[in-house]
């Protein structure tokens, strides 16, 4: 992250932070644009990796982006109540979760949690990925919602 600016001296921009894809991450954003969640996956040993890498960190084989179910469990979460990030100054409070995806223990993805009041959220809760356009018009981001299926 680059150096920040004193909150008192800056006019907050209205857009949320925009992803800056690179050759290792482009496949993730290409997939979300199609309403699909794809994660970096080793073509040889099958290890899932986040953040994505060009080659597997275990066996050095090439990776690809493969579709995941989009289901998982809340590992932890916060309820953001202080205006701290551009694009979210007028939408407080909001809940951010870190999800462990079902494909692999410890494979995590952060995102906002929707369709539930903050006081009802707890670690261990089952969720599923949905997609929302990111203000700014160029990207689609995954968000999470309580699972509609029984665990």
């Amino acid at each position: 992250m680059s150096a920040t600016t004193d909150a008192q001296d800056v006019v907050a921009i209205s857009l949320p932070p925009q992803p800056a894809p690179d050759p290792d991450t482009q496949g993730f954003w290409d997939a979300t644009a199609q309403g699909e969640l794809k994660m970096c996956h080793c073509t040889a040993c099958g290890l899932w990796m986040m953040p994505p890498l060009e080659r597997c960190r275990t066996c050095a084989a090439l990776t690809t982006f493969d579709k995941v179910q989009g289901t998982g469990t809340i590992y932890t979460f916060i309820v953001q109540r202080q205006a701290a990030v551009s694009g979210y100054l007028d939408s407080l409070p909001y809940t951010v979760v870190i999800i462990e995806l079902d494909e692999q223990a410890g494979l995590r993805l952060p995102g906002r949690l929707i369709n539930i009041a903050p006081e009802d959220v707890h670690c261990g809760m089952r969720v599923e990925a949905m997609f929302e356009p990111l203000a700014g018009g160029e990207f689609t981001v995954p968000v999470f919602s309580p699972s509609r299926k029984p665990a």
Binding site: A3, A7, I13, P17, A83
Partner: protein, 384 residues
Amino acid sequence: MKTSLREAAVVGIGRTSYVRKSGRTTTALAAEACRAALADCGLSAADVDGFTCFNTGGGSASPSAVAHAIGVEDLGWSLTVAGGGNIVTSTVMGAITAVTSGQAEVVVVYRVLGSETRYGKNLGVIDVEGEAQFSGPSGFLVPPQWFAMFAQRHQYEYGSTSEDLGAIAIQERLHASKNPHAVGKDIITLDDYMNSRWIAEPFRLFDCCYEVDGAVAMVITTSARAKDLPHPPIYALGAADSNRSGGSVVQYSDMTTMFSAGTAPKLWERTGLTAKDIDVACMYDCFTFTVMATFEDFGFCDKGEVGDYFREGRATYGGDVVVNPHGGLLSEGYIHGMNHHYEAVLQLRNDAGPRQVANAQTALVTSGAGPFGGALIYGTEATL
């Protein structure tokens, strides 16, 4: 300890005042702290041949610029380390190693923070690169959010509470109330803590450090030269670092722990010491929970016991170990952990005045939070 570590010592410390808005440049602040550290040990710019600092990009002042600003004509060893609290130990140990290896004889190590650097909010960001591209767009971008995630998981697994986090904030503020240099000197009660506004739940305002403008500098030289200088030399007995999950907060495996789960065993093994041997613990405290997790990791108490430990008075004068006698980043001010090194040296010199820890011989100084960080133990001549 490694015998080579005996060949260098911290001989001078200096700092600016810590204020919310200094109206000064980072070069000016750093120069003041570095001059103060040299004056403290009776040396001058002409004696200095090494400078090092760390920063997170922007909002700092380079070693060559600061050296020039205080009158150094030909700086021999100049190293800027990229990083924040996680890299303080490595930066200080780099300075010590520069001396023990003969690359430089007198090294100044410093950190400066000006008003243009505030980490708690980030309202001007447009593009987010690297791992942040997966979190920033969801409004998840700044440190209070990262470490509140850790605290939440700890509360889920071990039943720690807001009151436990509050006990840390209250204790540190009480220590700061006896420290004229602290920005947060008004003592707080549990009610004050519980009624302070939410930031990123489970963090409230008093869980977060006090960001300020200021600078801290230390002078390190050879032990041989240290013997001729005014203060008792303070030695690094050992240090260790851990860098896990590529620095990723989100992917860090066990968020009830921090880097210190890896650092602590290395540090105890390298020094032959244990938590019971530590008189002063300057625990890196960007947030209250950083103290909780690292304190457990270093073995001062078991998981989930930190709240009771603080409430029972074991983390203050007359207890087991005095934690952050200066008030830490939470209450003295956020100089990115370099002020913890200043306090450790002051305590081991027996120069801390009303907040002096009786017969302090060893000080643990941790740095960093979450996936990466380090720790260093200082000792007096008697501990060698």
